[in-house]
C-alpha cells in the first residue's frame, strides 16, 4: 500500500508498485495534463513536482513516492489565479501544439524556486525538456518574464 498526496489530496494505491508514477497519475488519478513522450526520462513531458523537486514521472515507480507530496500541472495554479510561469506562458504565447508545455512549465516553476533570476546560461543548463515544435525562442523569453512576474509579487 502506497500513501501519497496529489495536489493536496491524500490518496492510497494498492496495485502494482512498479508501475511508473506517470501512469498512476494519468490513468488512476485522472490527471491527464501529465504527458507521456518517451518513457525513459529524455523528454520531460511527464515532469511533476515530488516534494517540490521537478521529477520525470515516467521512470519513477509508484513505490518510490510513498509518503510524498506530488504536484501536477493541474495543481500548480492557485484556483483560478495562474502561477506566474503559466501567466508568462500565455503572455509570451509560447505554445504551439502544446503537448510538451505542461512539463516545461513544471520544470521552470521548480527551477525558479532554486534560481529566481536565471541567466540564459542557467536556462540552458537547467532546462532539458524537449519541445518538438521548437518553441524555445518564446519559451526562453517566458522564463525571464515568469521570473520577473514572480519577483513582482
Amino acid at each position: 500500500m502506497v500513501q501519497l498526496t496529489v495536489n493536496g489530496e491524500s490518496r492510497e494505491f494498492s496495485g502494482d508498485e512498479e508501475m511508473p508514477l506517470l501512469w498512476y497519475l494519468r490513468e488512476d488519478a485522472g490527471l491527464k495534463g501529465v504527458k507521456f513522450g518517451c518513457g525513459i526520462a529524455q523528454c520531460g513531458a511527464c515532469t511533476v513536482h515530488i516534494d517540490g523537486q521537478a521529477i520525470r514521472s515516467c521512470v519513477t515507480p509508484v513505490a518510490a513516492v510513498d509518503g510524498a507530496s506530488i504536484t501536477t500541472i493541474e495543481g500548480l495554479s492557485d484556483g483560478e489565479t495562474l502561477h506566474p510561469v503559466q501567466q508568462a506562458w500565455i503572455e509570451e504565447d509560447v505554445a504551439q501544439c502544446g503537448y510538451c508545455q505542461a512539463g516545461q512549465i513544471m520544470a521552470v516553476a521548480a527551477m525558479l524556486e532554486e534560481t529566481p533570476n536565471p541567466s540564459d546560461d542557467d536556462i540552458d543548463r537547467n532546462l532539458t525538456n524537449i519541445c518538438r515544435c521548437g518553441t524555445y525562442y518564446r519559451l526562453r523569453k517566458a522564463v525571464h518574464r515568469a521570473a520577473s512576474l514572480k519577483r513582482g509579487g
Partner: protein, 751 residues
C-alpha cells in the same frame, strides 16, 4: 467549467456552415456542451456532431469551430479570424473549438465534404478556407443585422456592426449579438451570397492575435488524443515486427496472458507486400484493463520474427546503392535546351554531391487512437491530420459505409506529416472489431520511431556551367532516392520522381539548358510526407551548391542569387504552391533578410553568416543564419533573421511562431537527426539516440520580417524550414572553410 455557458437553450444559437462555397441553414445546434480545449473530454462515444458553426451565446461570447485539425500550426486561431472578420465579432470574446469530421454523399454518389475541407497538410488551411469561412461569417452577420433591422423597422443598409455591437446611426439605437441572436436564428438564410469586405476594411485580419487555447494548455486541460476516453474502453499496446515487411513465424503468448489485467491478444496481419499500407507492420495487440498491464503484456510476448525481404538493408548499403545508381543513367524528368552541349562548352564548371538521411517525424505525442466498432456504427477519436483518411481506411478494412464511421479529431501533440498516415487508426479499428469493445491503442516512443513513414533519404548530384561572361548556361540536378510515392494504387514507378523533385523549382526557366534526372532507389524503410517534404532536401542542396559556386567564382553568395533570380516575372509553376513562381519575390525576401541581418559585415574568426532562400508551396522565405564554431568544433547558432512573403497575412504573430518553429525544426534536424538502419530494421528507438534539439542549442534571437503586398494568401506551416539547413551550412563554410555536404552535421566539425 461552470454549466451556465453551455448551450442550455436551443433557440439562442445560430448554426452556419459554408458548403462548397455556398451557405447553409440557420438551425439550432444539437446537444453540445463543449468548451475550448475540452472538445473530446470523457464521453460515452464521441460527442454529438455539431457541424461547421458559429454559436452566439447570450453572454456575448461567440464560439467558432475550425474545420482543420490543430497540431500547433495555429488554425485554432487563424481560421476563426476569417469568420470573425466578416462577422465583425469582438475577437476577444471568441472561443474556438475543433469541428468533428463531417462528410456526405454528393450528387454523384461519391463521398464528399459536408461543409468544408478538413485536412491539415501542405500548408493549405488558409488558402482553401479563405473565401468559404469569410462567407460563413458574412452570412451570420447579415442575419444578425436583418433581425435588428426588423426589430427597429429600419433598412438593414443603415446598420453598422463593430465588435459584436449592432448600431443604427440615425436613431442611435444599438443592440448586441447576444441580445439579437435568438431572433436572428428564426430568419431564413439569405439566398444571395453576402458581399465580402475589401481588404482595406479588414480590422482583424492582419492583426497579431495570440493562440486561442493557451489557457487550456498551460493548465493541463487541453485534450489530446492520448487523453480522450470512451466509457468501457480497454487499452491496447502492440508488438510489431521490427523488420521491414517481416512476419511472425511463431508466438508464445503464455507469459503475456498470465499478466494480471491482460484480456486478449489480437493478431494484426501485415499488408500485402508492395501493396498500399493499411497498417504498416505485422504484429500482436495486447488488450488489457490498463495501459500498464498492456505494456507489460507486450513485453512478455515471445515472438520469433522472420526478418523479411529487406533483412540485408543497412544505412551504409543504401548510400552505396544511391551512389551506384547515380553512376548510370536515370529518368529524365525535365530537359530544357541541351545540357550536355552547354556544359561541355562552359568556361567554368561546378559539381558536388550531397546526402540526406532518413529522418523521423517524432511528434511528441506518440500515436494513439480510440475506436469503438459496433454492428451498425464505428466511433473514432483520433489525433489525425486526415480525419477523412481515417474514415476511408477504416471503412475499407471493416467493409463499412463511410457515413457510419464518425471521426472526432482531437488536438494533436504535433503532426509534421506523420499524422497524414492513418495506420494507427486502422490498427485500433481492427483490434476493436476483434474484441467488440471501445479500444484505446497507445504507441510507445519505440513504436513511433521504428514504425514511422520516414522522410525519404537520397543522394543528390549537381553540376552547373558558366560562360566566359559569368552567365550560368547549364544546370543539372540528379537525385537517387527512395520515393514516398510508392506502394500506391495507380502510381507507376515513372511517377515516383514527382514526390522528390519539383521540376519547376528554381533555377528552372532561369537557365537555358537545364536537366533534372531521377533514379528510383530500393529500400524497405516506409516513407511519407515530412514537413515541407522534398523542399527540405532540395533547398539544402540547391542553396548549398549556389554557395559553392559563389565561393569558386569569388562572387558574393547574395549577389549571385540576386543576379540569377533577376527581375520580377511570373514563371509557371505546376506543382503544389503554383500556378506561379515569381523570382522577384524570392529576391525581395533575400534583400530584406540581408538588410535586417547586417549581411556582408566582416565576421570575427570562428564566426560565419550564411544566407539562403526558398519558394515552398506558394510562400517565399529567406533566412540569414549566424554561427559560432569553437576550436573544438562545437557549433552554436546565436541568431537567425528571416524575411517572409506569404501574401496576405492573417495573423502576423502566427507567422512568426511558425517561422520560429521552422528554424528550430530545421536546426534540430540538421544538427543530429538521422534514422539508422541495420539488418532491415531501424536501430533508433528513443530520444537517447534520436537526439532532438533542446533549448541549449536553440537560437536566442530569431527575427521575422514580413512583406505583405496583398498577394493571395499562402500558408506558413512549412515555409520556415527549408532555408535553415543551407543557410547554416553556408555560415559554417564562412566560419570554418568546411563545406557540409552530408546531413546531419553530427561531429563533422570536430573530426
Amino acid at each position: 467549467m461552470d454549466g451556465s455557458h453551455h448551450f442550455a437553450t436551443r433557440r439562442d444559437v445560430l448554426r452556419y456552415a459554408s458548403a462548397a462555397g455556398a451557405l447553409i441553414v440557420a438551425a439550432p445546434l444539437s446537444a453540445c456542451s463543449r468548451r475550448p480545449g475540452e472538445s473530446v473530454a470523457i464521453a460515452d462515444g464521441p460527442p454529438a456532431a455539431v457541424g461547421a458553426f458559429i454559436v452566439i451565446r447570450p453572454d456575448e461570447t461567440v464560439l467558432i469551430a475550425f474545420p482543420n485539425p490543430e497540431m500547433g500550426q495555429g488554425v485554432d486561431t487563424s481560421l476563426p479570424m476569417l469568420i470573425a472578420e466578416e462577422l465583425d465579432a469582438d475577437f476577444d470574446k471568441v472561443e474556438t473549438t475543433q469541428m468533428p469530421l463531417e462528410l456526405k454523399y454528393g450528387d454523384d454518389g461519391e463521398i464528399t465534404w459536408k461543409y468544408a475541407i478538413q485536412g491539415s497538410g501542405g500548408s493549405t488551411s488558409i488558402t482553401e478556407h479563405w473565401d468559404g469561412l469569410r462567407r460563413a461569417g458574412a452570412t451570420a452577420r447579415q442575419l444578425l443585422v436583418g433581425a435588428a433591422a426588423a426589430d427597429w423597422t429600419v433598412d438593414a443598409s443603415e446598420i453598422t456592426v463593430a465588435k459584436g455591437v449592432i448600431r443604427h446611426e440615425t436613431s442611435g439605437r444599438t443592440t448586441t449579438f447576444g441580445a439579437i441572436a435568438s431572433a436572428a436564428a428564426q430568419l431564413e438564410p439569405p439566398t444571395q451570397e453576402p458581399a465580402l469586405k475589401p481588404r482595406d476594411e479588414f480590422t482583424l485580419i492582419g492583426t497579431s492575435q495570440k493562440m486561442k487555447n493557451a489557457r487550456a494548455i498551460v493548465t493541463g486541460k487541453a485534450v489530446y488524443g492520448i487523453d480522450a476516453e470512451m466509457a468501457g474502453m480497454v487499452h491496447a499496446v502492440m508488438a510489431r515486427c521490427p523488420y521491414f515487411d517481416g512476419t511472425a513465424r511463431s508466438v508464445d503468448e503464455r507469459a503475456a496472458r498470465a499478466i494480471p489485467g491482460v484480456r486478449e491478444i489480437v493478431k494484426i496481419d501485415r499488408p500485402p507486400l508492395d501493396g498500399p499500407y493499411s497498417v504498416q507492420a505485422e504484429g500482436y495487440a495486447v488488450v488489457a484493463d490498463s495501459v500498464w498491464a498492456a505494456m507489460k503484456g507486450r513485453d512478455a510476448l515471445v515472438i520469433d520474427w522472420d526478418h523479411g525481404p529487406y533483412a540485408a538493408e543497412t544505412s551504409a548499403g543504401f548510400k552505396d546503392h544511391c551512389r551506384d545508381l547515380l553512376s548510370g543513367e536515370g529518368q529524365i524528368v525535365r530537359d530544357d535546351g541541351d545540357f550536355d552541349a552547354a556544359f561541355a562548352a562552359a568556361a567554368t564548371t561546378h559539381e558536388a554531391h550531397y546526402w540526406e538521411p532518413y529522418v523521423s517525424h517524432a511528434p511528441l505525442e506518440p500515436q494513439n487512437c480510440i475506436v469503438h466498432v459496433r454492428d451498425g456504427s464505428v466511433d473514432v477519436i483520433a489525433p489525425t491530420q486526415s480525419p477523412s483518411g481515417a474514415n476511408r481506411n477504416i471503412a475499407r478494412v471493416l467493409d463499412r459505409d463511410r457515413l457510419s464511421i464518425k471521426v472526432q479529431p482531437t488536438r494533436l501533440g504535433g503532426g509534421f506529416g506523420r499524422r497524414l498516415s492513418t495506420d494507427y487508426a486502422v490498427e485500433a479499428a481492427l483490434i476493436s472489431d476483434a474484441v467488440r469493445k471501445p479500444v484505446k491503442l497507445l504507441w510507445t516512443r519505440d513504436d513511433d520511431l521504428r514504425h514511422d513513414f520516414y522522410r525519404p533519404s537520397g543522394m543528390h548530384h549537381l553540376r552547373a556551367g558558366f560562360d566566359a561572361d559569368g552567365k550560368m548556361i547549364a544546370w543539372t540536378h540528379r537525385l537517387a532516392s527512395a520515393s514516398k510515392y510508392y506502394r500506391r494504387p495507380n502510381m507507376p514507378e515513372t511517377n515516383y520522381y514527382r514526390a522528390e523533385l519539383y521540376t519547376d523549382d528554381f533555377p528552372a526557366q532561369l537557365v537555358e539548358n537545364l536537366r533534372v534526372e531521377y533514379f528510383s532507389a530500393k529500400s524497405g524503410a516506409p516513407r511519407g510526407s515530412w514537413r515541407a517534404p522534398a523542399h527540405t532536401a532540395n533547398a539544402f542542396v540547391v542553396q548549398s551548391f549556389l554557395d559553392e559556386i559563389a565561393a569558386a567564382r569569388d562572387e558574393d553568395p547574395l549577389d549571385l542569387r540576386l543576379r540569377l533570380l533577376g527581375e520580377p516575372q511570373e514563371l509557371s509553376y505546376e506543382q503544389h504552391g503554383g500556378p506561379v513562381f515569381n523570382p522577384g519575390r524570392l529576391a525581395g525576401v533575400l534583400r530584406l533578410a540581408a538588410e535586417k541581418a547586417g549581411y556582408g559585415a566582416p565576421m570575427p574568426a570562428g564566426r560565419g553568416r550564411g544566407i539562403a532562400a526558398h519558394f515552398t508551396f506558394g510562400g517565399y522565405v529567406a533566412q540569414v543564419v549566424d554561427v559560432e564554431v569553437s576550436a573544438e568544433g562545437h557549433l552554436r547558432v546565436p541568431r537567425v533573421v528571416a524575411a517572409v512573403d506569404v501574401g496576405t497575412v492573417v495573423n502576423p504573430n502566427g507567422i512568426a511562431a511558425q517561422l520560429e518553429s521552422g528554424v528550430n525544426d530545421g536546426l534540430s534536424t540538421a544538427l543530429r537527426l538521422a534514422i539508422n538502419i541495420e539488418g532491415g530494421r531501424v536501430t533508433d528507438g528513443n530520444f537517447d539516440t534520436y537526439q532532438l534539439m533542446r533549448i541549449a542549442d536553440a537560437p536566442r534571437e530569431i527575427e521575422t520580417h514580413i512583406i505583405d503586398n496583398g498577394d493571395a494568401s499562402a500558408g506558413m506551416g512549412e515555409m520556415g524550414l527549408p532555408p535553415l539547413a543551407p543557410a547554416l551550412a553556408n555560415a559554417i563554410f564562412q566560419a570554418t572553410g568546411t563545406r557540409i555536404r552530408n546531413l546531419p552535421i553530427g561531429d563533422q566539425l570536430s573530426a
